[in-house]
């Protein structure tokens, strides 16, 4: 998790204590393992080092993982004070929970990894998009509200009155069984409408809506923002579509992000005591999973300058735009043409006027798919391109499959 906010408002302290209470890891252990971001951090300080005694005396290279890897709660404080070169060392760790030192793969103890980042000042570096993409979730911590500040003051100063150890005790009934929780989250299902899981459908639509880029290529397969490496939404000349959701972001969602969305939506539904994840669960968590990854285009910023600061509002607005398109699709003829073509490919059957099932010939399937794509070509929306591409892809797979 990436945690951003102004300095001195309790980001790191909050994480240390939350880490302790959620995992049961002693606070001392968390503090000892914590990495303080600075430009001089080395691989040895971040990941592991050689046993110097053995190396000098016996010439043997024994790798000793540092405490950071061995702690279930990993905190990198002020991570944006670490230069990009050094951050790349822990990139794999954030992504896979594994690190490499001296050619040896080291497995980190499972548990959350937090990185705090103050807002930019003269001593900070820009966190790169690939690095940010590895953080599934991010939150902005604001300074406490005045009424909360009073509570903090009235709580007493545990550093002065020595009651910290007592406060750190975790009541037995609040101890968490992570294995059990994971099992329960895994069981969380989603509503399926007409054989299509609705949450997955929306996530796929969101992914598709943001990835399209007219500037990237004239070939639909390559017309994605990931391929717009020289000319992006901001410096390309205006394309055919000027007010679609993809116009509002510079980058697309990674597969890693899409997988995280599904995981976190389930977790959120579980947290609320549900046995099924719904679109509302998804929409609640999306801003916190995307704001640090999706960059607004100049069109989005022209629409509301506040998005430059408030990326959560930007993502909320973007998701709303996608949702508008999504509901338009649900009632559209485009969806019917697409589905009719897809049904033919899927079943190879059609019901005739008397309601009798009839097998379609290969020529008929081809003609039906061709006609579906032709109808979709009349729909002046990027989603129609996605539908047409999907039909074409499934038709080609079918044709290639039948040749084998």
């Amino acid at each position: 998790m990436l945690v951003t906010g102004a300095p001195g408002i309790g980001k790191t302290t909050g994480l240390e204590y939350a880490g302790h209470f959620f995992t049961g890891t002693p606070l001392e252990e968390i503090l000892a393992a914590e990495i303080q971001g600075n430009p001089q951090l080395t691989e040895e300080k971040l990941v592991a080092s050689y046993d110097l005694g053995k190396l000098i005396k016996e010439g043997e290279r024994i790798v000793i993982p540092n405490r950071f890897l061995g702690c279930p709660v990993k905190i990198i404080d002020e991570g944006n004070r670490i230069p990009a070169d050094n951050l790349s060392i822990i990139m794999r760790l954030v992504d896979t929970g594994k690190a490499v030192y001296g050619g040896q793969v080291l497995e980190a103890v499972p548990g959350p990894l937090f990185l705090t980042a103050n807002y930019a000042d003269e001593g900070t570096f820009q966190l790169t998009p690939p690095f940010l993409d590895r953080f599934d979730v991010a939150t902005m911590v604001t300074s406490p509200q005045p009424w909360d500040l009073r509570k903090i003051r009235e709580r007493g100063d545990e550093k002065l009155n020595g009651e910290l150890n007592k406060l750190l005790e975790i009541p037995e009934n609040l101890k968490l069984d992570f294995n059990q929780i994971r099992k329960e989250i895994k069981k969380i299902d989603q509503k399926v409408e007409y054989e299509v899981p609705v949450v997955d459908a929306f996530v796929d639509f969101l992914y598709s809506s943001l990835r399209f880029s007219e500037a990237a290529s004239k070939n639909l397969a390559r017309a994605t923002k990931g391929n717009a490496w020289r000319i992006n939404q901001d410096n390309a000349v205006s394309g055919h579509f000027i007010d679609s959701p993809f116009n509002y972001s510079l980058n697309e969602l990674s597969v890693r992000t899409v997988r995280a969305i599904q995981r976190y939506a389930k977790a959120y539904a579980w947290f609320n005591g549900k046995d099924k994840v719904e679109l509302n669960d998804l929409k609640t968590i999306l801003p916190y999973l995307l704001w640090h990854k999706v960059q607004p285009s100049s069109k989005a910023l022209a629409e509301d300058q506040i998005f430059e600061n408030d990326r959560i509002s930007f993502v909320e607005d973007l998701v709303e735009k996608v949702e508008t398109d999504y509901y338009e699709v649900l009632g559209s003829d485009a969806l019917k043409y697409y589905s009719a073509g897809l049904n033919a490919l899927r079943t190879g059957m059609i019901k005739d006027k008397n309601g009798e099932d009839r097998k379609l010939s290969e020529d008929e399937i081809r003609n039906l798919v061709k006609a579906s794509i032709s109808k979709l070509s009349d729909v002046d929306k990027p989603y129609a391109l996605t539908f047409a591409s999907h039909l074409s892809s499934e038709f080609n797979s079918r044709a290639n499959g039948s040749k084998k």
Partner: protein, 294 residues
Amino acid sequence: MSKEIRSLIPVKPDGLDEIAQDLLKPATTSPLNTSIDLREFLRLETVDPNLNPIELLVEKYPIKVDKRVKQVLTSLDYKLVNIDASGNILSGDYSSENIWVPNRLGHLNWFEQLPLLEHFNSQRLTLRQFKDFISLLKEAKDGRKKLYDGLGSIVDENEINKILDVLIKKEDPWRSEYLDTKFEVKNDKVILHEGHYVDNTSLSLPLEQRIKAKYKKEIDKDSILMQDGFTSFKYLNDYGLATKIEGNEVYYLHPSNNAVAGFDADSDWADLVCGRNPGYLDLALGVRRAILIK
């Protein structure tokens, strides 16, 4: 059959079979489906083969084989034929192959024109629609009606004259175009087949056998002229067939069995042909696209 193919979006299955059935039918005409230049079309209020009022966009001149049309012809597997300066074919057997020439549509017979028209979601004019088209042009020439192009702009007098000249002026070269109407002559009836389309449900059949008609109308032989001769456009009936020999505007060639309609003009005459072999080819043959708009 793959069961793994899944829709990206949930969709209610009700009515999908009807949509699939519709998609299997020939393409419906819609100007939105085409990449046409509306300035090259005229608005024509006319009737469908059941005599119900409709409005068409009708091409000002027979289709030109430009870059776009060449692309379409290639995509339809029509083959380019090499011809010399005199129009002689240097390769290819034009009686059995789908072929086309660089500048004119020429070597597509009545059957072969249809896939091209369908690609543009267009059709040929029926005899009656052709009669209305000529009437509209003549009335516009005389100032009795305004002629609008596909964008709704009024067509000026010079252009009206040019369109009419290309169509009916008695001058060479010989120009010709096919119309949609096909005839069946049976006993004392003439049966008009109109609204032709390519039935794509059985691609193994030759094109000629896949062309079907949406409309069929029987009329008594007695009600029309069953002989050739000069007539006038005003003596064409509701189906565009001549009813008497009088005037000298157009030479009428009466319907014959399994023949199709066409219209020609050269330095001798303009003739309305109802007895043309649909397999007939000629370099000067063309077709005019008509698009149903309402």
